[in-house]
Assembly symmetry: C2
Homo-oligomer: 392 residues x 2
């Protein structure tokens, strides 16, 4: 259920009936429509839904041109229904999912498509540049810098080493070897990660997610009681509050923690119940902070979790089996729905070489943006579960 309703009961449990993605990576020769077509076509087929069965579409994109997905959807015959594009920085795709889930739960719509798309190679050669008129643009506080400062403070507080940070990238690159839609599928050592070009000390290039093109989609409809399928146990969207820099937490921690608490409370589960997690590893420090903030490890012990293999494939709670943003790639608006696709495949046992055995409960977590002094534009978390029952 979603958290933002006044009404205490949800009328409907939402199911993720189908998912799809394009390939992720630098695909400068593809039109954004071609990315959307691949993701949406797969999601519709997977759900057994025709364009005419849809009641509404939510689109997630950050830098897409106005109507970027509508153009592609119209060409598929997805017209004459409400189509609304949403933006929430890196959490735009997850915001589209959240709005779709909420609409189904409240009975506003029956069958809703959520689709995310980003064509970044047209617009960015290197890092996303902040607006020149904003504080971040004037001072160089682009996102790599904000994450780097969080990393530096975190290292000072908890004795985390550069090698620990690099280990996140090593783990997620190792996972992506098994994901044939990922942008990078080559394993790397800690030494290689640390030897890559410095972007914002201590974050080297391979600790920063790459510029990517891609699309991903999910079909949401009411759960069919008694069938075995992937349902939404909770979906929570929060925007950040003031980041009080006097507090002990690095930037972003409190927003993620509070969103997680709400998502787990609504779902009636705890972090130890999770079998698999896709989270926002835009930068290596992000995954360490996030695993703590969602409660997989006590504060300051996220690196220990990593060292023990707890969050690697084969460990008890794999994090980012898809390769994450670091290796699958991070086409902003598509990411949240690619995470959703991964968790859905995992819960269905369809994840191939990266399958988490017996996964039944999974978490999607996406962090979006953040500006100077504010703890993130948005954090969205969705708890997904495979129900028992007859296979749909």
């Amino acid at each position: 259920m979603t958290s933002d309703r006044t009404a205490p009961q949800r009328a409907v449990t939402a199911a993720v009936a189908g998912v799809g993605t394009s390939l992720f990576g630098k695909q400068p020769d593809l039109h954004p429509s071609q990315l959307v077509w691949r993701a949406v076509d797969e999601a519709l087929r997977d759900a057994g839904v025709a364009p005419a069965d849809l009641d509404a579409v939510y689109v997630g994109t950050v830098f897409g041109a106005p109507g970027v997905a509508q153009r592609a959807l119209h060409a598929m015959g997805i017209t004459s229904m409400p189509i609304i594009t949403v933006e929430n920085a890196c959490a735009s795709g997850t915001t589209a999912l959240h709005e779709a889930v909420t609409a189904v739960e409240l009975g506003r719509f029956h069958t809703v498509l959520a689709v995310g798309v980003e064509k970044m190679t047209d617009q960015f050669a290197g890092a996303i540049h902040p607006e020149s008129t904003d504080i971040e643009g004037r001072t160089g506080l682009a996102l790599p810098s904000l994450y780097a400062m969080a990393a530096t403070r975190y290292q000072a507080l908890y004795g985390v080493t550069d090698e620990d940070l690099a280990s996140v990238a090593v783990k997620n690159h190792a996972h992506a070897v098994h994901n044939d839609r990922a942008q990078y599928r080559t394993p790397h050592t800690v030494e290689e990660v640390l030897a890559s070009r410095m972007v914002a000390d201590p974050l080297t290039l391979m600790q920063c997610c790459p510029i990517a093109d891609g699309a991903a989609a999910a079909v949401v409809r009411p759960h069919r009681s008694g069938t075995e399928e992937v349902v939404v146990r909770s979906s929570v969207l929060r925007s950040g509050g003031l980041w009080d820099q006097r507090c002990a937490h690095v930037w972003g921690y409190e927003l993620i923690r509070d969103t997680a608490t709400a998502a787990f409370d609504l779902a009636g589960v705890g972090p130890t119940d999770l079998d698999v997690v896709e989270c926002h590893d835009a930068f290596t420090i992000g995954e360490i902070v996030t695993t703590e903030a969602i409660g997989l490890a006590p504060e300051g012990q996220g690196a220990g979790l990593l060292r023990s293999g707890h969050t690697a494939l084969g460990g008890p709670q794999p994090v980012n089996p898809s390769g994450g943003l670091l290796s699958r790639g991070h086409p902003l608006g598509a990411t949240g729905l690619a995470q959703t696709a991964e968790i859905t495949w995992q819960l269905r046992g369809e994840a191939g070489g990266r399958q988490v055995d017996g996964a039944r409960l999974g978490l999607v977590e996406t962090m979006g943006g953040g500006v100077a002094g504010v703890d993130g534009n948005a954090c969205v978390m969705v708890v997904l579960e495979r129900t028992t029952g007859v296979r749909a």
Copy 2:
């Protein structure tokens, strides 16, 4: 009520409790936050609502940087609640209003802020340029061209003259003389409108809405039964279908007509019941087609409506008393909420020199985008009414 729900009853009637706008016009020296602050501060004061009373925010913008309004909202203490930016081309602000209204009607949120903002002078010297990789960009089918072709066909079908088209601009400029927030406040003659530079034959410069900077906002909460206030009788959002160019209607007509039919049916009123209308006069032909499509005049007789003074201030059904997009200006994401502010002021009797006497029922209509072959990205219509009861 909104049309897009499965559930037949609305739980709640939504009220527009407060509205606000910035000045509209070319304001290159202002930061987008300064525009947002002015609009939101006025809307909150008007509603008697503090930032902490809000449960959620929907933001409408088309070309705004990611988080453009969030930055401003955070600085006002509007944080730690869901903030979702929506885009639907020129109907982005009205889409934000529609999502806010629907959320209140469904009990998802209690008190919701809708805010629209656009800072266009930073980005556009002349017309908005289409994407170079899209059909429109390759063929020159920018929006002025699409509207010009509609105008040409319409003139051929119905004997409408260049003078008729120009009369829309003359009427709306005359209205804006009374609007001290409008971009252009100088009256113009038909001859002056026709003598202005040709943009896309037959549309001269003064028949095209100007590039503008601005913001507008509305606070939506449940109607307080028994009080006199502005309530939402219906809110409908539709995306365009295939434009079948073999049909008798010009581009956009069918989407507007179908949206109007749904909005009137839900509200239980008809077009003759309207006292005042704010509609999408991005180009002069737009207002003529729209007045027909919403049923103020039979098909092909919109120009006659204009010639008779029916839609001018002092006539029975004034259209665009604010000056409309042509004279108030068209900062894309702000427009729908500026229309909402105007209708709200009119229904409260607070519109000063442009007041429509005794206005009780009003319509907001916004048309968004459209690409080759599709009848518009979105059309949003909101029927507003002043209730009887004790003044709130």
